[in-house]
């Protein structure tokens, strides 16, 4: 009887440690990536809006060649902007088109983030459930609510 219980506890703990916790970590990492993308696109949107507001037709920037070595670069025509639309494709947009795309993209990213958040919550709930099961098996007093 006791042996069975010990075995079960061990199995549950293994499940938590080997399956649920790595899953949780992976989900959190994925969500962070999406957050980053969201930030990139929101930055781009702000920059384009900035260009629009100032009516910039040409600009001079510094290009990072790598290892923090910069070189000056001229952009002669700012009307056409190439935006990364994912999967390695870049599309030539005008400013307004770019802004439209960015809003769609942001929406999608927000949805993705929500998905990941839900996934993370469910994994956390599962962990909690299994821990509770272990507690019951060991017949320990219920822990304080937190």
């Amino acid at each position: 009887m006791d042996n069975i219980r010990v075995e079960k506890v061990q199995k549950f703990e293994e499940f938590v440690d080997r399956r649920l916790k790595p899953d949780l970590v992976r989900a959190i990492v994925e969500r962070d990536k999406v957050f980053e993308q969201q930030k990139v696109y929101s930055d781009l949107k702000r920059s384009i809006q900035n260009l629009e507001k100032n009516g910039v037709t040409s600009l001079r920037t510094l290009v990072n060649l790598g290892s923090e070595v910069y070189m000056q670069a001229d952009v002669l025509d700012t009307q056409h902007i190439f935006v990364d639309i994912g999967l390695g494709f870049r599309v030539e947009f005008t400013w307004s088109e770019a802004l439209q795309f960015i809003s769609v993209k942001e929406e999608r990213l927000a949805r993705q983030i929500e998905e990941y958040t839900r996934l993370i919550a469910s994994i956390k709930a599962q962990i909690k459930l299994v821990c509770e099961g272990i507690r019951e098996l060991l017949q320990l007093p219920a822990e304080g609510s937190y």
């Binding site: 990139v40 920037t61 910069y70 670069a73 002669l76």
Partner: protein, 426 residues
């Protein structure tokens, strides 16, 4: 699992060897500890440690790869920077944020803005930039070198842990013995304390000691010769003889046992006040007197013979000591006494095969002779044998050690006395 059977055999053998070892060391009086390696480093622990080190090695390897990628990047950048000034401008896609580009071109192809660190940038030409990049490359190389050295260390450590784990699994043992400094002056009080209490019972048991006693006897012979030589020499030579005596005594093993011999003749201790003997005085006086020696009459007689002869001399000696400064006249007598006592000891020793037993008896005899403390004379008589000790003490242990070897070579007269001794024979 498969190694278990041979392992067990190994253990049995090992235990046998250890047993023998312990016996031997006990016989020699050396205290050592034997601990199996697995008790200090449990096998699992050693394996765990090895695994930890392996993990550290993996980390370092990753770091190394990282550095290598930096180095290759750096080389590529140097090539790029070298090529850029070849043209006035280059058509490129100018990044605009992370997700967007503008079509544009690089201008001012010989002007680079290089990060110096801490947010400071410097405007450099192509050549200057290349210099900076090469210096960075060198720094990276040195980092790689240090990392490689670190890796080697860790690998050595890992192999050590692996070896330790394997040895612990095999059942290796560690034998540790305290290093005893070979200082006779230090040893004297020790042997003096230990011998009267415990050694007697032990001595009888240990066969190994027989050899020791044989050596002692040969030493005694030598001493005797020297004494004779000293006797034959005139008054001035006396002193040299003393030093000579000290020197011969100095030899360690002999010294030890000689001391034990002396200690057995307890009366000496009670009479003579020397730093060496004071500590042992009490136990000797108390214990030995009470010991009954009723079981060995023949030996007693023998000893009595030797002793009786020298009673007057011993008495003499005693008096001289009591009166403070030594009398030159009595010195010769002392010599005689000491020699004779040695002879007496030797006789008893030779007479019986079991030397150790003999000594025991001797000590018993002395107590019987002295009776129940009533006859102080007898104790004095025994001082005859002790005299030697008194003699010895005159030279002082510390001096013995110092002068031992020096006296032989530095003093020209001494070899002469030795020659005499040899010629005179015995």
């Amino acid at each position: 699992m498969r190694g278990k059977n041979p392992c067990h055999l190994h253990h049995d053998e090992l235990e046998a060897v250890l047993y023998v070892y312990q016996k031997l060391r006990k016989a020699e009086g050396v205290k050592g500890t034997i601990t199996s390696l697995s008790s200090i480093f449990p096998v699992e622990e050693a394996q765990k440690a090895a695994k930890r080190v392996q993990d550290a090695i993996a980390d370092r390897q990753k770091e190394l790869e990282h550095l290598h990628s930096f180095i290759s990047d750096n080389i590529n950048l140097v090539n790029l920077v070298q090529k850029l000034p070849d043209e006035l401008f280059h058509d490129v896609m100018v990044p605009f944020g992370k997700a967007a580009f503008f079509p544009g071109r690089l201008v001012h192809s010989n002007e680079f803005l290089v990060l110096l660190g801490e947010g400071y940038y410097a405007e450099r030409t192509c050549k200057q930039t290349i210099e900076i990049l090469q210096r960075r490359g060198k720094f990276l190389e040195s980092q790689v070198e240090s990392l490689k050295a670190n890796l080697m260390d860790l690998k050595a450590e890992a192999s050590f842990f692996d070896a330790t784990a394997a040895e612990a699994a095999e059942g290796l043992v560690e034998i540790r013995e305290d290093y005893v400094e070979e200082n006779p002056a230090e040893k004297m009080p020790k042997s003096g304390l230990s011998k009267p209490d415990s050694s007697e019972a032990e001595n009888v048991k240990l066969v190994a000691e027989d050899e020791e006693y044989a050596r002692i006897m040969s030493r005694l012979d030598e001493l005797e010769k020297e004494e004779l030589a000293a006797q034959s020499a005139n008054e001035d030579d006396d002193e040299e003889a003393e030093t000579d005596f000290g020197c011969s005594i100095n030899q360690e093993s002999f010294d030890d046992h000689f001391k034990s011999l002396e200690l057995r003749s307890q009366v000496l201790q009670s009479k003579v006040k020397t730093p060496i003997t004071t500590a042992t005085k009490e136990p000797l006086g108390g214990n030995f007197l009470k010991q009954d020696s009723s079981d060995h009459p023949p030996l007693k007689v023998q000893f009595e013979d030797s002793k009786i002869h020298y009673v007057p001399k011993a008495y003499n000696m005693e008096k001289s000591e009591a009166f403070g400064k030594p009398l030159s006249v009595s010195k010769e007598k002392i010599h005689a006494a000491s020699v004779s006592t040695i002879e007496g000891f030797k006789d008893t020793v030779i007479g019986h095969p079991e030397v150790t037993a003999n000594y025991k008896k001797v000590s018993g005899d002395t107590s019987s002779l002295s009776g129940s403390k009533t006859s102080f004379d007898s104790s004095k008589a025994f001082t005859g044998s002790i005299i030697e000790h008194a003699y010895n003490s005159q030279t002082k242990p510390a001096e013995q050690t110092v002068t031992s070897s020096q006296s032989t070579c530095s003093r020209p007269t001494k070899p002469v006395s030795r020659f005499k001794m040899q010629k005179g024979g015995r």
